[in-house]
């Protein structure tokens, strides 16, 4: 099941009408069966995005599709997702087995044509909610326009009276009203479009329901035919083998219809599924314990089993490793990757730990303040960062950033040209040069980045040289293979060249 997000926006309105945009027009697509990490610092909107995919937060704008079904207005219990909370949220009064079976208790098989019926109900509800939202947006627009008029009048008055404080206050209110008007104006046409689309969906759903009902009735008819045939065969005293075959056929059709009509799982079924899930996460010997009798890692595996029990279309994990100690983190990382590969469920997880994201994801979505910075495979995000933020966020120790300049097509650091191989276009301007610690090459002579050494750390396989480059504010870290230690130890000044460097504008975009 692939997940597609389009223009997703979430704005929280605080107490005094202060608006915070947590997620700002995000769009991306997650292919089926992949493990995707939402990575970013605190407050970048990754948990909010996850909760919107789950359905616990309602998006201010935008759409979410699971496959070809628009689930934006579908409540969380009907979306078919599994969510693992950061603190696991295992029901403390139920045993592990009962915890895993809890979603199964609520599973209602759809029964005859149930899926189509539900789809029709959802489509109709979608139309209704969208119409309500359109009405609300229209009202908001009218209200905002009224406010703009009144605030402009007040502003005129304040300017006449030359009341500086009042001018500021009214200007602020005016700007906020103008933003609200803009938001409503943008929403209305998109809502109208959506209503058209939703109405078409309702028609489609009605047609599908009729078709399904016809199919079911045909099946029942054929069952009845076979039953009468069996009756006649018995009356006519036909051959044993044929009668047996006919009985089998009738039984098969009967079970088929019973399965279509089935509403609930039996206890034996539930226990079997719980055992299977417990085996997948390797927790099957603890099935009768209560959550408080388990360690953190075990509790988390129970939470994952519970999320997987109802075979969700999408599995969501909210900071799955942040509550675990360091040793357990590494172990559980591998577990998550293994489970995802075994079950093949599309998985999205949220983290602020770039190492974790890089080690297990198929794709990383780097976010900052509600905006996507880059979506790519982990190694590409590391090696080809789209901007300075991504470059700084990934990699440990962090990338070293210098102030340099472009002059006449040449890249200069402290006046010296440091990248003779590439040609840089564009006008002369100051730029940021970034070099990863492992990209420094120790040059006994002829290196063009002179570094004044402060400390040298030897950690077995590498040497970390801490120092600073003259004329730059930042301290730098360089990681050199320890075979070269003789040239470095004891020296106050060493010089490096950069094997690979990145150049960014002052605003952060990458210059290729």
């Amino acid at each position: 099941m692939d997940v597609r997000i389009e223009n997703l926006t979430k704005t929280f309105v605080g107490k005094k009408g202060v608006e915070t945009t947590a997620v700002n027009k995000m769009s991306f697509k997650i292919p089926d069966g992949k493990l995707v990490g939402l990575l970013g610092p605190s407050g970048c909107g990754k948990s909010t995005t996850l909760y919107m995919i789950a359905g616990l937060h309602k998006p201010t704008d935008g759409h979410i599709w699971f496959g070809d079904e628009d689930v934006t207005n579908v409540p969380p219990e009907n979306r078919g997702i599994g969510l693992v909370f950061q603190n696991y949220a295992l029901y403390p009064h139920l045993s592990v087995r009962q915890n895993i079976e809890f979603p199964l208790d609520n599973v209602r098989f759809t029964g005859r044509c149930g899926e189509e019926k539900n789809r029709l109900i959802d489509a109709r509800a979608d139309v209704k909610t969208s119409e309500k939202e359109l009405a609300k947006a229209t009202r908001d627009l009218a209200k905002a326009e009224k406010e703009i008029v009144s605030f402009e009048a007040k502003l005129e008055k304040a300017k006449e009276n030359n009341d500086q404080k009042a001018i500021e206050v009214v200007e602020e209110k005016l700007n906020s009203a103008k933003t609200r008007k803009k938001i409503s104006e943008e929403r209305i046409p998109s809502l109208q479009e959506h209503i058209e689309y939703a109405k078409k969906e309702v028609e489609k759903a009605e047609v599908a329901l009729e078709k399904k009902l016809e199919e079911y009735n045909k099946k029942v008819e054929s069952l009845n035919e076979e039953k009468t045939k069996l009756g006649e065969m018995l009356k006519a005293g036909k051959d044993e083998k044929e009668v047996a075959k006919q009985r089998e056929l009738v039984a098969k059709k009967q079970t088929e219809i019973e399965n279509i009509n089935r509403i609930k799982l039996s206890k034996a079924d539930k226990d079997a599924i719980a055992l299977e899930m417990a085996k997948v996460v390797d927790i099957d010997q603890f099935l009768d314990r209560k959550p408080k009798e388990l360690s953190g890692g075990q509790q988390q595996r129970v939470a994952i089993a519970r999320a997987l029990a109802k075979r969700p279309r999408v599995l969501l994990l909210d900071e799955p490793l942040s509550n675990l100690d360091a040793r357990l983190r590494l172990q559980t990382r591998e577990e998550i990757k293994r489970i995802q590969r075994e079950t093949g469920i599309t998985t999205v997880f949220v983290t602020h730990d770039q190492e974790e994201a890089m080690s297990i994801s198929d794709f990383i979505v780097v976010m900052k303040l509600g905006v996507i910075q880059q979506i790519d495979e982990p190694q590409k995000v590391y090696e080809e960062p789209a901007n300075l933020f991504v470059a700084k966020f990934l990699g440990s120790p962090a990338i070293n950033v210098f102030d340099g300049e472009l002059k006449g097509g040449k890249l200069l650091l402290n006046g010296e040209e440091i990248d003779k191989d590439s040609a840089y276009k564009g006008e002369d301007r100051p730029v940021k040069i970034a070099v990863r610690p492992e990209s420094f090459v120790f040059a006994a002579k002829g290196g063009n980045i002179p570094v004044t050494v402060t400390t040298v750390e030897q950690i077995g396989r590498d040497i970390t040289v801490n120092g600073y480059v003259k004329g730059q504010d930042n301290h730098i870290k360089a990681i050199i293979p320890s075979e070269l230690r003789n040239g470095i130890l004891g020296k106050a000044e060493v010089s490096f060249t950069a094997k690979r460097l990145y150049v960014f504008e002052e605003t952060g975009e990458r210059i290729k």
Partner: protein
């Protein structure tokens, strides 16, 4: 600095490591820790022994001494009576005769029946209603403070005053607004006689034990829900809202969430309220008496009258156990034995019920 043993008026023998010698401050009386503890506890202990321990010992003694009558001039302290009596040549025997007398008293058995009916009807009803109201209060966002105030008002009202209000509300005379309410809203034609015993008008419904019981139960309900709602609301507040989110994702409807998540996680509070409510309900007295106050009788403890009771037991329609004990003490003011035995029987009943509740709770209460 190293602190020495507890002292009340403070001696501190201070050891200053920087100067490495003992600097002694003012020397005052220093008491050991156990003495301090006793000193602090004694006021409370005196209070408890006077008002709880002494009556309990008294009751036990009076209950087990057969044919006991108060001696003049020996005070009310049972041991005092005991020894004075012996010194005056009385012989005391210990036995169970008081218990036998109590249990063979028809009115006492009748009062046990009354109390049992009231408890069985009132306690589950009050707990259920408080649970529902607490859930409702927990879920509403608008006007929450307003509703909370309304539902907590009964707690701050005086029991007897409340009984007076109920008496007036359920009154048969044309002002009684319950009857007015039934008439206007539900179209009940004849006013119901809830509490009054005499028939003033021919053809009028006489108040029956049932109608009187309804008023008593409603009164106890009104009186009891406030505290229970408070306890349940505090319990609901401790339930992490993540459980509700998780249950939603697991596909549970609101009712399923309430039944399988909220109630089990609320079970410690429910157990506490159930046990204390049963205990309190068995001791019900002011509740019953307050409802009947101002009714037409000169008897001091009037518990309603119904035609089925014999004339000499008029005023005992809904007499509870504690009411019977007080009435017994009133009639036999110098022979407290039977009343004491009755209170011990009440104690035994309550203990059995409470033990049964604890036994059931082991499986159903989740901490």
């Amino acid at each position: 600095m190293v602190a020495t043993e507890n002292s009340i008026q403070g001696t501190e023998t201070v050891f200053d490591p920087m100067k490495a010698k003992l600097i002694s401050k003012r020397r005052r009386v220093s008491l050991p820790q156990w003495a301090v503890a006793w000193l602090v506890l004694i006021p409370a202990l005196i209070f408890i022994s006077m008002f709880m321990l002494y009556p309990i010992i008294n009751t036990f003694l009076y209950a087990f001494i057969q044919n006991f009558k108060y001696e003049k001039g020996a005070g009310s302290f049972a041991l005092g009576q005991f020894f004075t009596g012996i010194s005056r040549g009385k012989v005391f025997t210990f036995g169970l005769s008081n218990f036998k007398l109590a249990l063979s008293n028809e009115t006492f058995i009748y009062s046990i029946g009354n109390t049992a009916i009231l408890v069985i009807v009132e306690v589950p009803l009050t707990i259920t209603v408080s649970l529902l109201i607490a859930t409702f209060l927990n879920n509403i966002k608008v006007l929450k403070g307003f509703y909370q105030t309304i539902f907590f008002l009964p707690y701050v009202t005086n029991t007897i005053a409340l009984g007076l209000i109920f008496n007036l509300a359920f009154s048969y005379s044309p002002g009684g607004f319950i009857n007015v309410f039934l008439n206007k809203v539900f179209g009940v034609k004849d006013p119901i006689n809830w509490l009054q015993s005499d028939a003033y008008k021919p053809g009028m419904m006489v108040s029956t034990k049932f109608t009187q019981g309804v008023v008593i139960v409603l009164y106890s309900l009104w009186n009891g829900i406030a505290f229970k709602i408070l306890v349940f609301m505090s319990g609901l507040a401790t339930i992490d809202s993540q459980y509700y989110n998780a249950a939603k994702i697991d596909g549970a409807s609101n009712f399923t969430i309430w039944r399988r998540i909220t109630l089990p996680l609320l079970s410690p509070q429910i157990l506490y309220i159930t046990i204390t409510s049963f205990i309190g309900a068995f001791k019900m007295y002011t509740g019953v008496m307050a409802v009947y106050q101002g009714a037409e009788s000169n008897q001091s403890y009037y518990f309603g009258s119904i035609p089925e009771l014999p004339a000499d037991r008029d005023g005992e329609a809904w007499i509870p156990i504690v009411g019977w004990i007080y009435r017994e003490l009133e009639h036999n003011y110098d022979a407290p034995g039977i009343a004491s035995a009755a209170s011990l029987i009440l104690l035994a009943i309550i203990m059995v019920i409470t033990a049964a509740q604890f036994a059931v709770s082991k499986k159903r209460v989740h901490y």
